[in-house]
């Protein structure tokens, strides 16, 4: 593969993204996990920029690293749960093995579909100028011109104009529903975070005379 600016950026950011993901999973301290998550999200934002998704890159930095991670860190500090977790503790026998097997299987399935099957079998190949779907040849480089004036893409206008046009025409209803979802989420957060009047700590199983959680019987 020839070295271009795009490929160089891709490889550097891929390292940052995967390193951050490993940091999220293997940090014993949740604060370190949150900071590793910032690295991953920044890497993904640069990868968005690398693929001409400028608006999404900005939104990724502002919403994810600016709001969501700060919110997570805020809750971490508020609850004081920023102490180290014993990640070698394994109360469910074989949980780690099964998790690894499930993750490898997931990766294998997605990898198999994307790489062996070719990405074209997921998305179909782009519409050609004459309206015919090309099913032969490389899925990435179809034999005909993929640019179709009937598609939503207007390639000569800026990224944000294209997104705005599609967002407020084809996806206008979804946009309204999303607004309602955000309102509901805010109300839910207020209701959940409201301190009840008669808050009583739930007793530990040991205080009730049980050896462990599994001995507690369900009420009939």
């Amino acid at each position: 593969m020839d070295i271009t600016v795009e490929s160089l950026t891709f490889w550097v950011c891929a390292l940052i993204v995967l390193g951050g993901a490993f940091g999220v999973i293997w940090s014993r301290n949740p604060v370190h996990s949150a900071l590793s998550l910032v690295a991953t999200l920044f890497g993904v934002a640069v990868l968005f920029l690398n693929q001409n998704a400028q608006l999404l890159a900005a939104v990724q930095v502002i919403v994810y690293t600016g709001a969501i991670v700060v919110l997570i860190l805020f809750v971490l500090m508020l609850l004081g749960v920023d102490r180290d977790e014993d990640i070698d503790d394994e109360p469910l026998i074989g949980q780690r093995t099964l998790a690894a097997v499930a993750a490898v299987a997931l990766f294998g399935v997605v990898f198999g579909v994307f790489v062996i099957g070719g990405a074209g079998i997921v998305t179909g190949t782009p519409n050609c100028a004459d309206g015919q779907i090309v099913t032969s040849g490389s899925p990435y480089e179809p034999g005909c011109d993929p640019v179709n004036p009937q598609l939503a893409t207007v390639t000569d206008s800026p990224n944000i104009n294209q997104i705005g046009r599609v967002l407020f025409t084809d996806f206008a209803f979804a946009f309204e529903i999303t607004a309602a979802l955000l309102t509901i989420a805010v109300v839910a957060a207020v209701v959940l975070a409201r301190r009840p009047k008669d808050v009583a700590p739930i007793p530990e199983p040991a205080d009730l005379g049980y050896e462990n959680v599994d001995d507690i019987e369900e009420p009939a």
């Binding site: 693929q51 994810y64 977790e85 499930a102 939503a152 997104i163 009420p219």
Partner: protein, 103 residues
């Protein structure tokens, strides 16, 4: 469209990110870290959407990523609210302890 092998690279990277997030979600027991792993998986899917959108020369992929971002924000808000409500009654609760919270 330059770098068709790079397109495969983006897809493989997002598959790896998704698998790592799934592993963390299944492995870790701290609810906050599990929430972060869900964010990892959502970001992997976002990267796939943008890659496919560029591959097909179609802006709809980026618009859907926009909606995923909004839903992820709502999910984090509700999830953190639940975590705060649980941790207030039982500090240091892990995902295993949540099943004893009834009513």
């Amino acid at each position: 469209m330059s770098g068709s092998s790079l397109t495969t690279g983006y897809l493989v990277l997002s598959a790896m990110l998704f698998a790592l997030g799934a592993f963390g979600l299944l492995r870790r027991r701290n609810p906050l870290v599990m929430l972060m792993c869900v964010e990892l998986m959502l970001n992997a899917v976002n990267l796939t959407f943008v890659t496919f959108g560029r591959m097909l020369n179609d802006i709809t992929g980026q618009v859907i990523v926009f909606f995923v971002l909004v839903v992820a924000a709502a999910e984090v808000v509700v999830g953190l609210g639940l975590i705060v409500a649980i941790a207030r009654r039982r500090p240091g609760a892990t995902a295993d302890d949540i099943r004893v919270l009834r009513g």
